[in-house]
C-alpha cells in the first residue's frame, strides 16, 4: 500500500499502486482488475486520481512518431509535456495548448481537457487532439477521434479518466519561429479596468491576469494583466533545467493574512505598467515549474484550489461578489488568477465555457470547507461551474446541475463498458456510477 494524494495534498489515500513497465501490459491489468483509475503525474489538485487501486502510467512515456514537417506528434499517454517540449521546440513546434505546469502527462492533459492562456482563441487541449488510443473496461483497445467513435472521444476529452485508460495520443502542434515570448504587462487598479483590459486585448494570443484578492474597496480586484505573443526572432534553443526542491513544508506561522497581503503588495508594486519584455518560453508558461514541489509552500494538511468559470453576463458584478466573499472570509489566498474563456466545446465534461475563470489557492484550515461551500452556492446562482481537475469537495448536486451533460456522459461510459471499471474518489463523490 502506498499513500497518495493530488497536488493539494488533500485528501490522502492508502492505495494499491499498479505500475506497469510499459503500455503493453495495460490491457491485461484492466481485464483482471475490478475497479481502478489511471494516474499520471498526480497534478490534479484533489481526489480525481485517488482510488483504492490506481494505475500509474509513468513508465508508459515513449514517443511513437514525430512528423517534423507537419508538426504531428504521437506519443504514449504517460509522457510529460515537459519531455515533449524538450524535443519539439528545437524543431520549431510548440504545444497548441498548455496548462501552467509542464509536469502533466499527455493523457492527463486530455482527461482534464486542460486550457491555457490562449483559450479565448484556440480552445482546449482536446480540440487539438487528432486521435487517441484507449483501453476500454473490457480490455479492448480502440481508437477514438472526431471521426471515429466520436461519442467516446468527446467523453474522454475532459472525462477525468472515467471512460478508460488512454494509451497514446496524436496531437497537432503549432509552428513557432522562436523559443522566446514577447510579454507585455498592464497594471490596473480595479476589476472593471481589468475586465476592460481583457476586452481591449482580445486579439492577444496569450492573456492571463494575477489579481490581488486581498485588496478591498475601490481597489477590489486590482491586478496585473500579462499578455504574450510568440516572438518572431531569436533561436529555437530551449533550456529546460531540473527544478529545485523545497525540503520541508513552510511552517504555518508564516502563512497568514499579513504575509499574504505583503506578498500580494510586493507583487503589485514590483509590476510595471505597460512594460514589454522578451523572455524565454519556459518562465513565461511555467514560472512555478522552477520549484519541483511548490505545493509544500502550503500547510502540511494540504490546500484546496478553487477554480470556477462564470458567464460574461453580470461577469464583473459576480467576480466582485466572489472577491468580497473571499476577502471577508478568514481564508488567505496566495495566488489568484483571472482569465477570459472563449467558446465552449463539444466535450461532455470539459470545464471551460465562455466567460471569466477565477482560480485561487486556500490553505486547508477548519474554516476552509465552509468557505468553499459558500462559494459553491454562489457559483450555482451565477450559472457557473467548478473545474473538476482542481476540485476535492464539490457536492454531487452541484456537479449534476452545473455539468448538464453528465447523463450523456454516463450513457457513453455504459456503452463502452466503463461503468464499475473506472472510478475515482471524485467520481464516487459526484455520483457517477
Amino acid at each position: 500500500m502506498t499513500k497518495i494524494s493530488g497536488w493539494g495534498n488533500y485528501p490522502q489515500q492508502e492505495t494499491h499502486l499498479i505500475k506497469p513497465s510499459s503500455c503493453l501490459a495495460i490491457h491485461f491489468i484492466i481485464k483482471n482488475e475490478k475497479s481502478l483509475i489511471a494516474r499520471g503525474m498526480g497534478r490534479s489538485y484533489g481526489d480525481s486520481a485517488n482510488a483504492p487501486k490506481v494505475l500509474q502510467t509513468s513508465n508508459c512515456d515513449r514517443f511513437i512518431e514525430f512528423d517534423v514537417n507537419n508538426g504531428i506528434l504521437k506519443a504514449e499517454a504517460g509522457i510529460t509535456l515537459r519531455e515533449i517540449l524538450k524535443v519539439i521546440v528545437s524543431h520549431g513546434w510548440f504545444l497548441p495548448v498548455t496548462p501552467g505546469t509542464s509536469y502533466v502527462t499527455l493523457g492527463g492533459a486530455i482527461a482534464s481537457d486542460v486550457h491555457g492562456k490562449n483559450h479565448h482563441i484556440v480552445g482546449t487541449f482536446g480540440q487539438h487532439v487528432k486521435s487517441i488510443s484507449i483501453v476500454l473496461g473490457t480490455g479492448e483497445v480502440v481508437t477514438a477521434s472526431q471521426v471515429i467513435n466520436q461519442d467516446l472521444f468527446h467523453a474522454t476529452c475532459g472525462g477525468m479518466g472515467l471512460t478508460g485508460v488512454i494509451l497514446s495520443a496524436t496531437i497537432q502542434l503549432i509552428p513557432i519561429s522562436s523559443s522566446f515570448m514577447t510579454q507585455k504587462t498592464i497594471k490596473v487598479d480595479c476589476i472593471e479596468a481589468l475586465c476592460e483590459a481583457f476586452e481591449d486585448n482580445i486579439d492577444s494570443t496569450y492573456s492571463v491576469a494575477w489579481i490581488d484578492c486581498l485588496a478591498k474597496g475601490k481597489n477590489l480586484g486590482r491586478g496585473v494583466l500579462i499578455l504574450g505573443e510568440h516572438a518572431q526572432n531569436g533561436d529555437l534553443e530551449i533550456n529546460i533545467r531540473d527544478p529545485i526542491s523545497i525540503p520541508l513544508s513552510t511552517p504555518s506561522i508564516f502563512l497568514n493574512k499579513v504575509t499574504m497581503k505583503s506578498i500580494n503588495n510586493v507583487y503589485w508594486y514590483m509590476a510595471k505598467h505597460n512594460q514589454t519584455q522578451v523572455i524565454p518560453l519556459i518562465p513565461f508558461f511555467y514560472p512555478l515549474d522552477a520549484i519541483r514541489n511548490w505545493n509544500k509552500f502550503f500547510y502540511k494538511s494540504g490546500f484546496l484550489q478553487f477554480q470556477c468559470v462564470i458567464p460574461k453576463t453580470n461577469g464583473i458584478t459576480n467576480i466582485k461578489k466572489l472577491l468580497i466573499e473571499i476577502s471577508e472570509s478568514s481564508e488567505e489566498s496566495f495566488l489568484a488568477v483571472l482569465k477570459q474563456f472563449g467558446k465552449v466545446n463539444n466535450n461532455l465534461l470539459s470545464f471551460p465555457t465562455e466567460g471569466y475563470t477565477l482560480a485561487l489557492d486556500f490553505n486547508l484550515k477548519k474554516t476552509t470547507l465552509t468557505t468553499l461551500r459558500r462559494l459553491e452556492e454562489l457559483i450555482i446562482t451565477m450559472n457557473g461551474r467548478i473545474y473538476l481537475t482542481k476540485d476535492a469537495v464539490m457536492q454531487e448536486a452541484t456537479f449534476k446541475s452545473t455539468y448538464p451533460q453528465w447523463e450523456v456522459f454516463e450513457s457513453v461510459r455504459k456503452k463502452y463498458g466503463a461503468i464499475g471499471k473506472f472510478s475515482s474518489e471524485q467520481s464516487k463523490r459526484l455520483g457517477l456510477a
Binding site: T2, S21, S22, L24, R62, F63, I64, A75, V87
Partner: protein, 245 residues
Amino acid sequence: MKKILIFGATSSIAEHCARIWAARGDKLYLVARNKKKVQTLKDDLKVRGASQITTFCADLNDIEQHGKLISEVSEIMNNIDIVLIAHGTLSNQNMCELNVVETLNEIKSNALSTISLLTLLANRFEAKKNGTICVISSVAGDRGRASNYVYGSAKAMITAFTSGLRQRLYKSNVAIITIKPGYVDTPMTSNFKKGLLWIKPHEVASKIVKAIDRKKSEVYIPVFWWFIMKLIRAIPSGLFKRLKI
C-alpha cells in the same frame, strides 16, 4: 557524435541513458531480448534525436551465442566508443535458497553472461586502444547479506572482474567503469516499499552518462552509498552475522 552499444537496452536504467544519448544525437546499437519492446524503444529514441539506431534481438543468457553476436555487431559498427552493459535480473532470494538451478541461473544472468561479454569486448577494445566499457554492478555486491546474497555475490563477481579488467586495460587507454547503484525505482523493484533512499532511473542514468563522459572508475549512485557501504563493510563478520540488515 558517439557510437554506443547497449546490452539490455530495454532495462529501465539503460533506456534512460539511451534517452540522454539520443538527445545528443549519438548513434545507438541496442541489444535486447524482447522484440516488441526494443522496437518501441527504437521509435522513441528516434524522435528524441538519435542519429542512427540499430537493434539486435538476443537472449544474453545464451552465452554460446555471444561470440557470434559481438562479431555481428562489430561488423555493422566499427569503432564503438562506448559500451553499456545493463542487462540483469533481481533474484528472488527465497526461490534461490530452495532451488540450485534457480541460484545458478541468477548467477548466470547477473554475472557469467556479463563476464563473457566483457571478455570478448575487452580483447577488441585492447586492440583498438580506446573506448569506454561501463557495467552496472550494485551496492549489493559490496557485502553479502542474508536478504539477497545470491544477487549480491553475482554483482560482487562483476565488481571484482571489472576492477581487474580496469587495471589491465588502463595501459591500452580503455576505461572500464563500474556503476554501483543503490535502490532504484524501476519495474525490477516494483514490489518493494519505497523510502528515502530510493531514486528514479532517470536520475541514475544522468549520473551514469556523466561518469562515462568523465571516464570515472567506480561510481556509487547516489554518492552517499559509498559512505553507507564503507560502514557496512567495516562491521566485523562476527557481529555482522547477528545483524538484520
